[in-house]
């Protein structure tokens, strides 16, 4: 096994967490190497200019690695869901929707509010300055002054266009007397930081070949590399090695081009492989000292997986909505039901996002709800009536951190390097089922309010299997906390058991909130990486993790 020259920090994973951490530490002058199992995605690699762009989005640009099956993907052993992830430089920011809301103050205080989920070890107010730093790094479009959120710094650009679709949805929310607000998005409505404004092509789910959407390949990596960081692509991490004292010594990785194994030594190891990949790597790093996996003596690694409870209600109206134009998700958000009201029959809350429907083929195929144009003689009649006349109400409900919703190692499936695949088990708790059902009813009221002539509900249920979500958000499996018995990391993302091992990705979230998580993941990582930077001299030699 070839050993590379030791560095100050080795980071595994190059998505939101890995990119932000690498940039901050490299800009401080530290020697940082990032290992990424995939490669770069060039603008011309995206399918946006190909006539078969919609077919590609469902095949080799599928959000699900089990469908996509690229050489750099690893299989996921699960019957419970279809996780979204991208294995390449930028991680899942290469093909996400860049929806960029913040968590709200109560999201950090669920232990206080009802006790069925933990309090975070810090508050919204503690994190707020880091949201602002991260927003400046990615560039966020939005409209300031939402009464449903605490005041904060201005957005970098004005909001993206609402178009007729947004205006019709706003009319419906107004009729119902509910809150709505333009959704903050990490997609530029104006030129910013050398990147162009969005031109509303409507294919965000295959990434962005213009650089208008905050893919870490265009926001963070050029700056990190300029600062001296080394990004090693096609380098698949296999395990973390430790010494006799229990400190991490570095990462064993496989060169996917040759199949050969190498060792990258470092004083500090940071994992940022997402809520499935990070616990997988820890569980695969067994030793005499850590027989259940690294940093897992309390059996917390891999547990409390959260994705959000999801449903989609699509509705079609007589007036044209241009549903194929503009960012896919989301024109606006309704936070009327975001706070807990136990009189609704559940704890926690939900938001409703107004989204678009992609191109003509996808709309005929059923768009996000499965309302498919019939085959046969009535096909064109249906298409004329529905195409560009629909909007999508996406229900995003908070899901609880359930110990049995978890990532373990598959006993039967391995990836192309012989590393055990992650096995994922997930069931929606009855409380969270109620949230989704409540949200569906509210979306049906919206359909009524806008005079929809057709409505279709997608509960993400498959025959004989029940709820089987697309699992866009991979959260909670190595959570931070104040209690070493019930968490994996301390409030500064340092694992309780291995003092020079840090986790900086969606795994760390103690609760899921009822909105997209990437802005919060970014803010948490900025906070943790700046702390690591500012205390690096001590933390690189630490023999014990810092108490909460």
């Amino acid at each position: 096994m070839n050993a590379f020259e030791p560095v100050d920090v080795v980071v595994v994973g190059s998505g939101m967490g890995g990119a932000a951490a690498t940039k901050i530490l490299a800009e401080a002058g530290l020697r940082v190497v990032c290992l990424e199992q995939g490669g770069w995605t060039r603008p011309e690699d995206h399918p946006h200019t190909s006539p078969d762009w919609e077919w590609q989005r469902m095949t080799n640009w599928s959000t699900a690695p089990n469908t996509r099956r690229r050489p750099e993907d690893y299989p996921i052993d699960t019957q419970d869901e279809n996780p979204l992830m991208w294995n390449g430089v930028g991680g899942s920011t290469v093909h996400y929707t860049a929806t960029w809301p913040r968590f709200r103050p109560s999201d950090f205080r669920k232990g206080t509010e009802h006790g069925c989920a933990p309090d975070w070890p810090f508050t919204y107010e503690d994190l707020s300055p880091y949201y602002a730093i991260n927003d400046r790094d990615v560039g966020v479009s939005g409209w300031y002054g939402d009464p449903a959120m605490p005041p904060h710094e201005a957005f970098q650009t004005k909001p993206l266009p609402h178009g007729p679709l947004g205006r019709v949805a706003a009319r419906g929310f107004n009729k119902l007397g509910w809150h709505w607000w333009p959704m903050p998005c990490a997609i530029l409505a104006e030129e910013y930081d050398g990147r162009p404004a969005c031109n509303h092509c409507g294919n965000c789910q295959s990434g962005c070949n213009r650089g208008s959407l905050a893919d870490m390949q265009v926001t963070h990596w050029p700056k990190a590399i300029r600062a001296g960081a080394i990004l090693r692509t096609h380098a698949r991490a296999e395990r973390i090695e430790i010494d006799r004292s229990g400190r991490a010594t570095g990462v064993v990785f496989v060169d996917l081009n040759t199949g050969s194994r190498h060792f990258q030594a470092a004083d500090v190891v940071i994992l940022a492989c997402n809520g499935i990949g990070t616990p997988r790597l820890l569980l695969n790093s067994t030793s005499n000292r850590f027989p259940k996996g690294l940093a897992n003596s309390n059996d917390m690694v891999g547990r409390h997986l959260m994705h959000h409870g999801l449903a989609i209600v699509e509705m079609w109206v007589d007036e044209p909505l241009d549903s194929h134009k503009g960012i896919v998700s989301a024109a606006m958000m309704c936070a009327e039901f975001a706070e807990t009201d136990v009189n609704r029959g559940f704890i926690n809350g939900l938001t409703i996002h107004i989204a678009r429907l992609n191109g003509a083929g996808y709309q005929a195929h059923g768009s996000h709800s499965g309302n498919r144009a019939p085959w046969g003689k009535s096909h064109h009649r249906w298409f004329r009536r529905h195409f560009a006349h629909g909007l999508c109400a996406l229900i995003v409900g908070e899901d609880l951190p359930i110990p049995d919703n978890r990532v373990t190692l598959s006993e039967t499936i391995k990836d192309s390097s012989g590393i055990p695949a992650p096995k994922v088990s997930y069931r929606l708790h009855p409380n969270d089922r109620r949230i989704v059902d409540f949200g569906i009813q509210r979306a049906l009221e919206l359909a009524d309010a806008i005079g929809a002539f057709d409505v279709k509900v997608n509960r993400f249920e498959s025959e004989g299997q029940g709820y089987k979500p697309p699992a866009w958000h991979l959260l909670g499996t190595c959570r931070i906390g104040s209690d070493p018995e019930t968490s994996v990391c301390n409030p500064w993302h340092q694992t309780w058991e291995v003092p020079n091992l840090f986790i900086m990705d969606g795994s760390c979230l103690p609760t899921s909130a009822a909105v997209n998580p990437t802005s919060t993941i970014g803010a948490m990582v900025v906070r943790a990486a700046m702390h690591l930077r500012d205390h690096f001299a001590d933390l690189r030699r630490a023999q014990r993790s810092t108490p909460a």
């Binding site: 206080t112 134009k325 136990v342």
Partner: protein, 186 residues
């Protein structure tokens, strides 16, 4: 595009012609033409379907053709009513395979330039592909688009207190309980 290629097997010319004719009749049963829209075969969908079946469902073209055969006669030889019955039978008996076919057919159809042109004739601005042109949209106009309702609220951190969830105990009884960080008590 990532594919799992397999060299096509040698087939007698006559057989290949029959397969092509059956596939044309099949896709036209799924998407017939009308005064504005071309039929699926006019948009070349049968060729794309054959390719997608070959790449993603090895050997399934023969399976499809034999399933479409109606009492020994080829699909093309069936009457329009018989074709609809045969397709309905396929839809019921092999729903997963049929769903794949519909995906392949619908997405192939709507990528064809003739179909894109028909969509434009309906009055929609619609591109052959999302880029490079993108779409024009009216910019966010604060006078029209900014919310003026004043609705919305959030609980401030210091306002968050323990809620009475006793009515939900049956629902929440199986969950672990965590301390209230305000007083350290569960």
């Amino acid at each position: 595009m990532t594919t799992r290629h397999r060299p096509p097997r040698a087939q007698p010319q006559k057989h290949l012609r029959q397969v092509a004719e059956d596939l044309e009749a099949f896709v036209d049963t799924l998407i017939p033409g009308d005064a504005l829209f071309p039929s699926a075969s006019q948009a070349g969908v049968h060729q794309v379907l054959a390719e997608r079946l070959r790449v993603y469902r090895t050997d399934s073209i023969d399976q499809l053709i034999s399933t479409l055969a109606n009492n020994g006669s080829s699909f093309k030889a069936c009457s329009p009513q018989q074709r609809v019955r045969v397709v309905r039978r396929l839809e019921r008996s092999e729903p997963e395979f049929f769903a794949f076919i519909l995906s392949a057919v619908y997405l192939a159809y709507y990528q064809h330039p003739l179909v894109v042109r028909a969509i434009r004739w309906l009055g929609h601005e619609y591109n052959d592909a999302p880029q490079p042109a993108g779409y024009s949209m009216p910019v966010f106009d604060p006078q029209v688009d900014a919310p003026k309702h004043g609705r919305g609220f959030y609980k401030k951190t210091h306002e968050i207190k323990r809620l009475d969830t006793s009515k939900l105990e049956t629902l929440l009884g199986d969950l672990p309980r965590y301390p209230n960080s305000a007083d350290g008590q569960p």
